[in-house]
């Protein structure tokens, strides 16, 4: 499959007018992508714990059932924690969408091919794990926005993108700051709703 989409365009479009969307990004390129789209308190860019982005999204979705939760991660990161798709499938969080920005490469380590380059189909795995919607997207980002903001989940999309090497746009690295700013932003709103 020859991809034409550019990853930063895709992520910027997904996060446009995000309002109270909660975002977790997997380590590496997708963490830089969400930061390039605009660093935000309700974004949690990961710098490590490879394979855990989708599970972070699940924990967050269970804790915040009234919010939409979007995980944006890479194909390599997703492949390291495929079991998470089965675990999410059992829980069936209606507010969770996992989007894999799939360049078929390990972008941070020298652009080696990932399993998806050899035809491993992540959307098919998600479908087999009882995701409500699971698709591979090569052009229609509006469809992915629908999944993230409206469609009852759990939803999954693998978005095929060019394997470009882009300038790093780094989020804050201090884990305590990332955690505390996220909780302050999310939980302050919950308290306001209760009043």
């Amino acid at each position: 499959m020859s991809a034409t989409l550019r990853r930063r365009d895709v992520v910027r479009e997904l996060l446009r007018e995000r309002k109270d969307l909660l975002v977790v990004a997997g380590l590496g390129s997708t963490a830089w992508d969400i930061t390039a789209a605009g660093d935000a308190d309700m974004s949690f860019p990961m710098w490590g714990a490879m394979g855990q982005a989708a599970m972070m999204g699940l924990g967050l979705a269970l804790a915040q059932p009234k919010r939409r939760v979007l995980v944006i991660t890479g194909d390599g990161e997703m492949l390291m924690g495929l079991g998470a798709l089965a675990t999410i499938g059992v829980q069936q969080p209606g507010n969770l969408t996992v989007v894999v920005i799939d360049n078929e490469r390990y972008g941070e380590t020298g652009m080696q091919r990932t399993h998806t380059a050899y035809g491993v189909d992540l959307a098919a795995v998600a479908l087999g794990c009882k995701f409500k919607q699971a698709m591979t997207v090569t052009s229609d980002i509006a469809k992915v926005r629908d999944l993230a903001y409206r469609t009852p989940g759990p939803n999954f999309a693998a978005v095929k993108v060019l394997d470009e090497k882009l300038p790093l746009v780094l989020p804050p690295q201090d884990g305590v700051i990332l955690k505390d700013r996220f909780r302050k932003a999310v939980l302050a709103d919950v308290l306001a709703e209760k009043r």
């Binding site: 490590g48 999204g57 305590v176």
Partner: protein
């Protein structure tokens, strides 16, 4: 008489406000898992590997919920790298570990990880409490939960094989 330690743990979880329970099954946790499943205020999350539990706990905390993880000692080997995130972000973590590879172990393949469970946890910044007797389990769990949630601590309670009481392959099969 041996106290009903799984019921006592469940009581402590309720008292601490734990709402999410991630687990990879272990025979030693069988009754506690059932108690948590029956508790309408708790969401039990079966995991395919213990590593997923760390992501689950971290995500739940970001959203304002308290959680615990239940696993067997061999599972501790599956979470080593991701404990780095717990340390760097100071995520509250409470793990209840049922031990294998100690006295009475019938499966030699359980021994290497069982013998090194405490060391591995401590090396990765998790404080270890050893519950050697059934009478001491609840107290250790209470202390671990308090430290985790009030002081952003990473805590593990190791429940000794003596407490769990599985002695033979035959007995485990008959469970």
């Amino acid at each position: 008489m041996q106290p009903d330690w799984p019921a006592e743990i469940h009581k402590e979880l309720v008292a601490a406000g734990v709402r999410v329970v991630g687990y990879v099954p272990d025979a030693g946790h069988k009754r506690l898992i059932e108690l948590c499943e029956q508790d309408r205020n708790m969401r039990t999350v079966p995991l395919t590997t213990e590593e997923e539990g760390i992501g689950l706990v971290a995500g739940a905390w970001l959203g304002g919920e308290k959680s615990v993880l239940l696993m067997q000692s061999s599972g501790v080997g599956n979470i080593i790298n991701v404990l780095g995130m717990v340390q760097v972000c100071r995520f509250p973590l409470a793990i209840l570990v049922t031990m294998r590879g100690e006295q009475g172990e019938f499966n030699s393949w359980q021994v290497p990880m069982g013998q090194n469970t405490a060391r591995v946890l401590e090396t990765m910044g998790v404080a270890v409490r050893q519950a050697g007797e059934a009478q001491t389990v609840a107290g250790h769990v209470k202390a671990a939960l308090l430290k985790a949630f009030e002081a952003q601590g990473a805590e593990a309670v190791l429940i000794n094989q003596r407490v769990i009481g599985i002695k033979s392959f035959q007995e485990q099969r008959n469970q």
